[in-house]
């Protein structure tokens, strides 16, 4: 029984079917884990080191092959198909090999692949980038106007400390995988932790279902190694023989190869960690970079509104009338208008250089219209463009004027040359989310 127990320094006795299984798994995982897809190298060589940002490295860690445009699990099937064919050829070609070594190396490959994947996601939470704190616009959006995944992200985003804690678990579990003797602990934590992430991805439709299961499958395969021993020790409470397997590096070349590979993984992870931290400090990639117009951050009631010179009184049903406006800390304005929103169904999780494309704040959420703006503080002009790709043609050319600290007048034209005029009153609202449960609150 060799999958589960390599118990001494001698090579162990692999049964026929075990050899076949091992051949299959070796090829199967090799195809799925080792970068054989040219797209990986295309990405790797396209990294612009002059304008380097962590996301290029991060995307490398998410490697999984894509065959001929197949999506998700279909790639697994394809890899399974190739592995089956190759196993048949291998079995009939009668070549002999050391199966202990083969198994050992398969585990090495999987350990490092899993460690890199899980640590990369860990960094994304340790430096809380993956779930930023909800934007002010999102705080002013009804609970029912979010897609499920966005609620899941925001619910984590409101407690950055907890997000850091979850990231730390991933980093620690990944680090345990880098050492042979602690692998089972790391794989066990990941099977539970990422298993839960997988379930949540199904429940909340959060787009990483396939990738999280990919990591869980690797973790489970690594766990099998000690499963029988643990079962014998904890459940049967019998005398249990330990795995005494120690890899022996017979040639100097092999030793050097090991040191080089191990070293480069460590260096890669350190560079990834430092650059992720730098992104968090300098420009959290899910949020726009440019700071907003000074003194505008806040929630505004639209007290007065004119459309083509005609006053439209308060209403929640007119599709031109602005109801309220949020100025973010960064250069985004969101406006509540009764005009329906064709929702942006992307996940806002990709790195973009331009603010207009950084759509985490508006992805997966209805209720409000989001505009990126350019401010000209000399001529006091704002140039607005809708951030939602489905409404990209919506634009406003507005001039702004402060009546006082908390009153702002916007006037100008939209892309159809209809004129708008809005008087905004800042409302100093208190939020239950920020006030918390510890004290009695008046809102």
């Amino acid at each position: 029984m060799s999958f589960l127990n390599i118990s001494n320094h001698d090579s162990s006795d692999w049964k026929g079917y075990e050899k076949i299984l091992l051949r299959f798994f070796f090829i199967y995982f090799f195809i799925l884990v080792v970068p054989i897809d040219w797209k990986f190298y295309q990405e790797l060589f396209n990294i612009n080191w002059a304008t380097f940002n962590f996301y290029s490295l991060f995307s490398l860690t998410k490697y999984a092959p894509q065959f001929f445009g197949l999506v998700g699990y279909q790639n697994w099937l394809f890899a399974g198909f190739i592995a089956t064919l190759a196993t048949i050829i291998w079995t009939f070609s009668n070549t002999n090999c050391n199966y202990d070594s083969l198994y050992y190396w398969l585990r090495v490959i999987l350990r490092y692949r899993l460690a890199i994947g899980i640590i990369a996601y860990g960094f994304l939470k340790v430096f809380p980038l993956q779930m930023p704190f909800p934007s002010l616009s999102n705080m002013h959006t009804n609970y029912g106007d979010f897609l499920a995944w966005k609620i899941y992200f925001h619910t984590l985003g409101i407690t950055q400390g907890y997000e850091i804690f979850l990231g730390a678990i991933e980093v620690v579990a990944g680090t345990l995988l880098l050492f042979r003797r602690t692998t089972t602990f790391g794989a066990g934590i990941i099977a539970g932790f990422t298993g839960n992430v997988f379930a949540a991805n199904i429940a909340y439709d959060a787009s990483e279902e396939v990738y999280s299961l990919y990591l869980v499958v690797i973790a489970l395969f690594l766990l099998i190694y000690d499963a029988k021993r643990l079962y014998s020790l904890l459940v049967l409470e019998q005398y249990t023989i330990a795995s005494k397997f120690e890899p022996i590096y017979t040639t100097l070349g092999l030793k050097r190869l090991r040191t080089t590979l191990k070293g480069s993984v460590f260096i890669f992870l350190i560079v990834l960690g430092v650059s992720t931290y730098a992104n968090y400090i300098k420009e959290p990639y899910k949020l726009p970079k440019k700071t907003g117009l000074e003194g505008t951050y806040g929630f505004y009631n639209v007290r007065e509104f004119k459309y083509n010179g005609v006053v439209i009184p308060y209403t929640t049903s007119d599709t031109n009338r602005w109801q309220n406006v949020v100025f973010e800390k960064w250069a985004t304005i969101s406006i509540k208008i009764a005009k329906p929103v064709k929702i942006d169904t992307s996940f806002g999780d990709v790195y973009h250089t331009n603010d207009i494309d950084r759509n985490f704040e508006s992805a997966g959420v209805g209720g409000r219209h989001y505009f990126a703006y350019q401010a000209d503080t000399v001529s006091k002009k704002l140039s607005l463009q809708n951030k939602n790709k489905n409404h990209a043609s919506e634009k406003f050319q507005l001039s702004y004027r402060f009546l006082n600290d908390s009153t702002l007048v916007l006037s100008g034209v939209n892309e159809k040359k209809d004129s708008v005029y809005a008087v905004l009153d800042k409302i100093n609202k208190k939020y239950m989310l920020l006030e918390g449960r510890r004290k009695s609150v008046k809102l």
Partner: protein, 459 residues
């Protein structure tokens, strides 16, 4: 503690002085935490109405918490302890500034530990010749395991039959994200993914089952430590309020797992063969055997089977979190208030008017809510517990701010009119401590409501 060597199968072990002391401390500490010390608990077994059982009763019989020192909440409505019942007696009440969420909330644990340390010295003095406590240690591990699985059953089955986080109310769907407390957001994220809630419940059920049986106890303890340990962290992060209950599973899990750890470490990390040598009490006499089987069967039938049945029954026929009385027939929905009068004078729509209603929701059950622009005193309660009366069931409104007010309705048919015409009487939910002196709800408020169709992104 060098526990695995202590549990030698055949020969009597000799524990070091430190091991004996540490055991005595742990024993007293856990004894105080898991054994109900109030008479009320035992009375409960005789005063329960066994013919009309409700899950509330099982909660009451699932043990108690050791809390002779009461932490006084800084304001009303701040304390909610779920189904954990306070003892009636308290010899000290303190008002801690960090309230019921910070380190001070663990004060009774520190007290138990203090009693344990002092008790251990006295016990050691009286019991100097003792070589070991392996039999007592066995029973302590079993006791902690049983206390854990019994305390867990309520949370388990209210997720397996998803009532712990019931369906989202319309009022919640129409409340802005920033108007919920963090605790509320943490809870209601389960309210629209019941499959995930059931999954979490089944994971807890697995922990309960694993803890019940000797061969799986170590795995159960490890799962409890990992899974509920995470929940403990989350409760601190979100001010969830049941961190103490969760922390018990974390600590208990670690305590039950402890004797196994050295073996696991030796086997996996040191790569040495291991002969497990945990000691188990030998139930020799027929009386002991009989007692063991009876007790185990009772725990299984009562806290697994009966508890599951009652939770299922509640899920199917009542769901204690939201009012049980149905609302006005076919009224469920979100309404725009298109016309609004106070004392027959029309008040035009305005988002910044403190009197004028903006929109109204009617739930499936007898709750109505409306929004105005006004300042209310908000309570930070979580709306937990298994309330008996509809008016006490505040889950849908607890921890929610904004200008939203929630009312419970009584439908009173008017005799002389057609049967379908009903007058709606609003009753202020008494738990919601709104300021109402300047804002009495009377019949002179009259809203003409037209339905607006709303598609929720969430569904």
């Amino acid at each position: 503690m060098n526990t695995t060597d202590i549990f030698l199968e055949n020969k009597e072990p000799v524990w070091s002085a430190f091991e004996k002391w540490a055991f005595r401390v742990s024993f007293i500490f856990f004894f105080l935490l898991i054994v109900p010390l109030e008479l009320d608990y035992y009375k409960g077994w005789f005063t329960t109405d066994w013919a009309n059982l409700h899950i509330r009763d099982i909660g009451r019989l699932s043990g108690s918490s050791f809390n002779p020192i009461k932490i006084k909440p800084l304001f009303d409505g701040a304390a909610d302890k779920g189904s954990l019942k306070d003892a009636n007696t308290s010899f000290l009440t303190i008002t801690a500034k960090e309230g019921i969420y910070g380190l001070a909330s663990y004060i009774n644990w520190f007290l138990a530990l203090g009693i344990g340390i002092i008790g251990a010295f006295i016990w050691g003095f009286l019991d100097q010749k003792r070589k070991h406590y392996r039999n007592l240690y066995y029973f302590l591990l079993v006791g902690v395991s049983y206390a854990m699985l019994i305390k867990l059953q309520g949370l388990t089955f209210s997720k397996v039959f998803p009532t712990q986080m019931p369906d989202l109310a319309l009022t919640q769907l129409n409340t802005p994200f920033g108007d919920f407390t963090a605790q509320k957001l943490y809870w209601i994220q389960f309210s629209f993914v019941h499959g995930y809630e059931v999954f979490a419940g089944l994971a807890e059920l697995l922990i309960m089952l694993f803890l019940l049986f000797k061969p799986t106890r170590a795995v159960g303890a490890a799962l409890s430590l990992a899974m509920i340990g995470n929940i403990t962290f989350a409760n601190h992060a979100y001010d969830g309020g049941i961190h103490l209950a969760a922390a018990f599973f974390t600590l208990g899990g670690a305590f039950v797992l402890w004797p196994y750890l050295k073996n696991i470490w030796t086997l996996l990390v040191l790569q040495k063969d291991v002969k497990p040598n945990l000691y188990y009490h030998d139930f020799k006499t027929p009386l002991q055997k009989y007692f063991r089987i009876t007790f185990k069967s009772f725990v299984f039938l009562f806290f697994f089977v009966l508890s599951a049945y009652l939770h299922w029954h509640n899920y199917k026929y009542d769901s204690y979190k939201v009012p049980s009385r149905p609302g006005l027939a076919d009224s469920r929905g979100l309404y725009d208030v298109t016309e609004f009068k106070v004392n027959n004078k029309i008040v035009p729509y305005s988002p910044v008017d403190s009197v004028r209603w903006q929109n109204v929701t009617f739930e499936k059950w007898s709750t109505m809510s409306y929004t105005v622009f006004n300042i209310f005193l908000i309570h930070g309660e979580a709306g937990r517990g298994k309330q008996f009366k509809d008016i006490d069931r505040t889950y849908e409104s607890a921890g929610t701010g904004g200008g939203r007010r929630h009312f419970i309705m009584k439908l009173i048919p008017l005799k002389r009119r057609l049967l379908s015409k009903v007058r709606i009487k609003f009753i202020r939910m008494k738990i919601l401590r709104f300021i109402t002196k300047d804002h009495q709800l009377t019949e002179s408020y009259y809203g003409v409501k037209t339905s607006i169709k709303t598609l929720f992104m969430l569904f």
